[in-house]
Amino acid sequence: MLKELEELQKQADAELLVSKTEEEFLALRTKYLGRKGLLTGFLRNLGNIEPEKRPLVGNHCNEIKNAITEKLDDALKAIAGLKQDDELLRDRIDVTLPGRKIRVGKLHPIIQVSRDICEIFEALGFSIVEGPEIELDYYNFEALNIPKNHPARDMQDTFYIEDNIVLRTHTSPVQIRVMEKQRPPVRILSPGRVYRPDSDISHTPMFHQIEGLLVDKSITFGDLKGVLTSFLKQLFGEGTALRFRPSFFPFTEPSAEVDIRCVMCSGAGCRVCSQTGWLEILGSGMVDPEVFKNVDYDPEDVSGFAFGLGLERIAMLKFGISDIRLFFENDQRFLEQF
């Protein structure tokens, strides 16, 4: 009896294996499990065996039945699934046609860079402030320790409105305006437009700077290095090598230019870095005691550092732009790339 059952199972398995279509599977179901099916017939004949063997054979019989049922169901389900896919595919669309997008506008690259820098410094506790773009000579020069006829005035050509009114040549006057109004501690950042009469592939008569100032008790040159290092690594990447080298600004002393390893040639020397391997990124220094005196801060009591950088230069390096004038042409084909 059991032997016959096993034969039956083998036969069913073999037939399941070669069946493909829905009809074939349905025929198999009738053949084995239908009212007159082979397995059904077997179960019906259980009464003819010895009672002690009945449970064993019965169980086996049910197991086989379940196994066949499961296999048949799976096969039929799979066939049904394929059939639905076929139907859905007949309703296909061309997914490569362009989407119906709501075009999002682009922020000007200078604004993007400015925003990135402001965010870094805001996290360091700096507040964003503004100052006038048309300035008194006093704020733009004299209070910054650049008296009339001082050689340092050569460093910045100036647009004049009147004898004592200029288009600001840098964002540094904001330092003075803030310190005049606020007692230390001070942590400010001031982005904005500045003006110098110059126009060629690397100069435009208007451009952008960001000025930073931190004044508190016992601020050191080491702190200047720390804050600017952290800033530049966030802006250009953790692996950015940088160097601080002595320089001169009338309103800071000691002063430092900060260079980063050339992003184009990694220091090997190229056209962008004039073969030096370094790129000048920002000017900085400890606030000169003379400047503190001009705003009635006691240089023996507080110290601080200031820094300034040109946004166009940063944007040019970050985006690989070689002509500064492009920023102000506002050509849609340019703006769309950012």
Binding site: V129, P185, R243, P254, F328
Partner: protein, 805 residues
């Protein structure tokens, strides 16, 4: 400042490589911008000796020579008449390359074989002399490569000298820094003047009438000079540092200026009337012709060097044509002086003459170096021009130049500022290496006296900088400042700007940045009337171009310019905005008023997907953008009023933008006349809003309203009204009346054409009714609704569409 490495090596030993030197100089603040190798542009030219010279049998003007390079003898045909047997000369062998890239070949000149060429200075590119073959010193080794024998290779550094470091505008200045960096010894040039016994005081005198502008003036007399070219070594050095050789006297003044940093001037003594020097301000109306042959009227404060009668030089700036050294000059009066830096700068600026001398005087020369430089120049002039130096030096020094002395220095202060722990000994060592005199007062307190050439060092902080430079910026530890006790404040206007950018970006507008200056003509282009506030322009005194000569008072002209530029580039679909300041002239001597404005422009097609539908932008696209701004900033009471006029906007398609009855800006289609003037074909829509007023309207407050729990009832009605009736009028009537149950009323359709009588339009309004606490009944709604509709009909004369119209 160009510095020749060879020249530097005369005063300081340099054992490091040029690349290392560049790095070290840069790291003490003498930024080397470039390094260039100087080598002659010839190859294979050697020192040779002429064994014999005889006339070419076939050519009158040529000579046949035999020259030897030691091991070989060559026949050479030569056209120059200055060669003699026994001369040592530069010889270009067959295969040699001379400047210009010519390769020397073996040739036959009128039947005679020539195996090379003898060269002149000019042919070799090492001098201007083309009159004959260059005759070399007889002691040069025969056969040696010429460039080696004459030591013609050099490295030239271009160093950016910051305005405070006038002491480094000379070769010895840079050599001193190198000595301080490397610890090598610094050698000051040997100055050793041989004087004759003719006393200078018997020949000339110096009177300083304006010692405030000229604290010190010294003079020497050199007699019997023979004017001619300088020796090659001097010409080479001058050329290396970017100066042109002129003659042996002028060259010496330039040479010593480059060497010691002291500008000098040589007068031809025979042209000095009364044989004396008077230093004074010019007489009124006095004119002067300087060496550049330009005549100038002199300003009161332009200090002049004069003889007994007339000006002969502009002090510290340029000599005069009337006393210039000429070919037949025999006696030189040599000037070495200290002129007031500020006055020199002013004069040089005023005259527009930025000479090397003016540059150095303007930044401050060493007041104690004046006499030394004079001696150095006199010595060199005697050496190379055959002149004799008269005994003594006139040194008028009526007004001592202020010099820093005993500047207090606290070691604790050094370390407090730098964040370091530098010990006393290192500080003292650094300052001493810079030739400062140091005294110790008490523990950790010192006094330092800088050398007189360091005019930049006056205060403790200046000393601290020196310590930092030579301790090394890279050795100062990197620290972070202690946590801030300042609260970060967010500027209200900055918050509004940021929001605005987000809204605009989301609405598909790209940000532009245009120059803050415009052409004065652009206000005429906009047709702004004379009394308009935007005519109060701020003018730039020294603009780069007329197009950029006034500060803008509106963003509109720049927006239109941007449209124009893009249209020219073939881009007609534009959605852009700008945030920037405008400026208004106030009173003379007062800062102009400035404020931030927002401007935006839209033109062309809305969608750039070719396969989807395209529509042209119109007024309502731009208005939608402004409405988006109101939504985004939570401004609830914005209004658009048609009774607003701008000369540059279409009067029927523009409006003022109001919040709480206050006008904050405008929007509309650009007037066809303006478009015509700008040659723009497509319609353009612009808007400008005062950012300060907009910021005033923004509170940032958001108050959540419970979501409705009961259903609403919607009723649509189409009103037929006169075509001039503004929809706002109907909406306002409805809103005023239906305060309680009317949740919202809006326009859902505007139609005119078929089935609507001419001169009318149909405006479909959708009314939504809702009560917060209950479900409204149909009767209740009908009662309120019909009241509202009737009211609209009564007040506007509207007819209900479909009701027997």
């Amino acid at each position: 400042m160009l510095a020749s490495l060879k020249w530097l090596k005369e005063y300081v030993e340099i054992r490091i490589s040029p690349a290392e030197l560049v790095d070290k100089l840069t790291m003490v603040g003498l930024e080397v911008e470039s390094m260039r190798e100087r080598s002659p542009s010839f190859r294979n030219i050697v020192v040779a000796k002429i064994l014999s010279v005889k006339h070419h049998p076939q050519a009158d003007k040529c000579f046949l020579c035999e020259v030897t390079t030691g091991d070989t003898t060559y026949p050479v045909v030569c056209g120059a008449g200055n060669i003699r047997s026994g001369n040592v000369v530069p010889f270009a062998k067959v295969g040699a390359v001379i400047p210009g890239g010519y390769t020397i070949r073996s040739s036959k000149i009128r039947g005679e074989i020539s195996e090379g060429m003898l060269c002149s200075e000019e042919e070799l590119g090492i001098g201007d002399d083309s009159t004959g073959i260059m005759i070399l010193p007889g002691n040069l080794p025969i056969g040696k490569d010429l460039s080696e024998a004459l030591d013609l290779t050099d490295v030239v550094l271009d160093i950016a000298i910051t305005p405070n470091r006038s002491d480094c505008l000379s070769i010895i200045g840079i050599a001193r820094e190198i000595a301080a960096i490397t610890g090598s010894n610094f050698r000051y040039p040997d100055i050793n003047v041989t004087e004759n016994d003719e006393d200078i005081k018997k020949i000339t005198s110096v009177h300083i009438l304006d010692p405030d502008l000229c604290p010190r003036y010294s003079a020497r007399i050199i007699k019997n000079v023979a004017i001619g070219p300088s020796p090659l070594w001097m010409r080479q050095r001058l050329e290396a540092v970017g100066l042109r050789a002129i003659n042996n006297i002028v060259d010496v003044t330039n040479y010593v200026m480059m060497e010691l940093g002291q500008p000098l001037h040589a007068f031809d003594f025979r042209f000095l009337e009364e044989g004396r020097i008077v230093v004074r301000r010019p007489l009124s109306g006095e004119t002067f012709v300087s060496l550049d042959e330009k005549e100038r009227i002199l300003e009161t404060d332009t200090l002049m060097i004069c003889d007994g009668v007339k000006p002969v030089a502009i002090a510290g700036i340029m000599g005069g044509l009337n006393s210039e050294v000429k070919e037949d000059t025999e006696t030189i009066l040599l000037e070495s002086a200290y002129f007031d830096p500020i006055s020199t700068r002013k004069s040089s600026k005023w005259l527009g003459m930025n000479t090397d001398a003016a540059f150095r005087f303007g930044r401050g020369v060493d007041p104690e170096g004046v006499v030394n430089a004079s001696a150095r120049a006199a010595q060199l002039m005697a050496e190379i021009s055959g002149g004799t130096v008269c005994k003594g030096c006139i040194d008028e020094y009526p007004q001592k130049v202020k010099k820093a002395k005993d500047i207090p220095l606290r070691v604790k202060r050094v370390n407090d500022i730098l964040g370091t722990d530098i010990k006393d000994a290192e500080i003292v060592k650094i300052l001493k290496s810079l030739n400062m005199k140091i005294c110790e007062d008490t523990n950790g307190h010192y006094r330092a006296t800088p050398p007189t050439y360091r005019v930049d060092i006056e205060r403790e902080i200046d000393l601290i900088e020196e310590v930092a430079r030579f301790h090394g910026y890279d050795r100062i530890p990197v620290t972070l400042p202690p946590g801030s006790s300042v609260t970060v404040t967010k500027d209200h206007k900055e918050i509004v700007r940021k929001r605005l950018r987000e809204i605009l970006q989301g609405s598909g507008y790209s940000e532009i940045i245009t120059f803050s200056f415009i052409s004065p003509g652009s206000l005429d282009m906009l047709g702004l009337p004379a009394g308009d506030d935007r005519r109060k322009i701020v003018k730039i005194r020294n603009p780069l171009t007329e197009d950029q000569s006034v500060m803008r008072t509106t963003l509109v002209s720049n927006l239109l310019e941007t449209m124009k530029k893009n249209a020219n580039a073939g881009c007609f679909d534009l959605k852009v905005f700008e945030i920037g300041r405008v400026f208004f002239h106030q009173r003379e001597g007062e800062l102009p008023k400035d404020k931030n404005m927002f401007g935006c422009l839209i033109s062309g097609m809305l969608d750039n997907n070719i396969w989807l539908s395209k529509t042209s932008t119109d007024f309502y696209d731009l208005k939608g953008c402004v409405e988006n701004i109101f939504d985004g900033l939570k401004i609830l009471n914005g209004e658009f009023r048609s009774d607003y006029r701008e000369t540059f906007l279409h009067p029927g398609k523009s409006c003022g933008i109001y919040v709480d009855k206050r006008c904050i800006g405008f929007l509309g289609e650009v007037h066809p006349d303006v478009l015509l003037k700008m040659d723009l074909k497509n319609k353009v829509y612009v808007s400008e809003i005062d950012m300060e007023l907009l910021a005033d309207c923004f509170t940032g407050d958001v108050c959540y309203k419970e979501l409705p729990r009961f259903p609403s009832v919607v009723r649509d009605v189409a009103f037929v009204v006169g075509e001039d009736l503004e929809a706002d009028k109907m909406l306002n009537i409805a809103r005023d009346m239906g305060k309680e149950l009317l949740e919202k009323v809006s326009v859902f359709d505007v139609y005119s054409g078929k089935s609507i009588t001419q001169g009318n339009k149909s405006v479909g309004l959708r009314f939504i009714y809702r009560a917060p606490e209950r479900t409204l009944t149909d009767d209740e709604v009908s009662q309120v609704h019909s009241g509202i509709v009737k009211h609209i009909v009564d007040l506007t004369g509207a007819k209900i569409r479909g009701e027997g119209n």
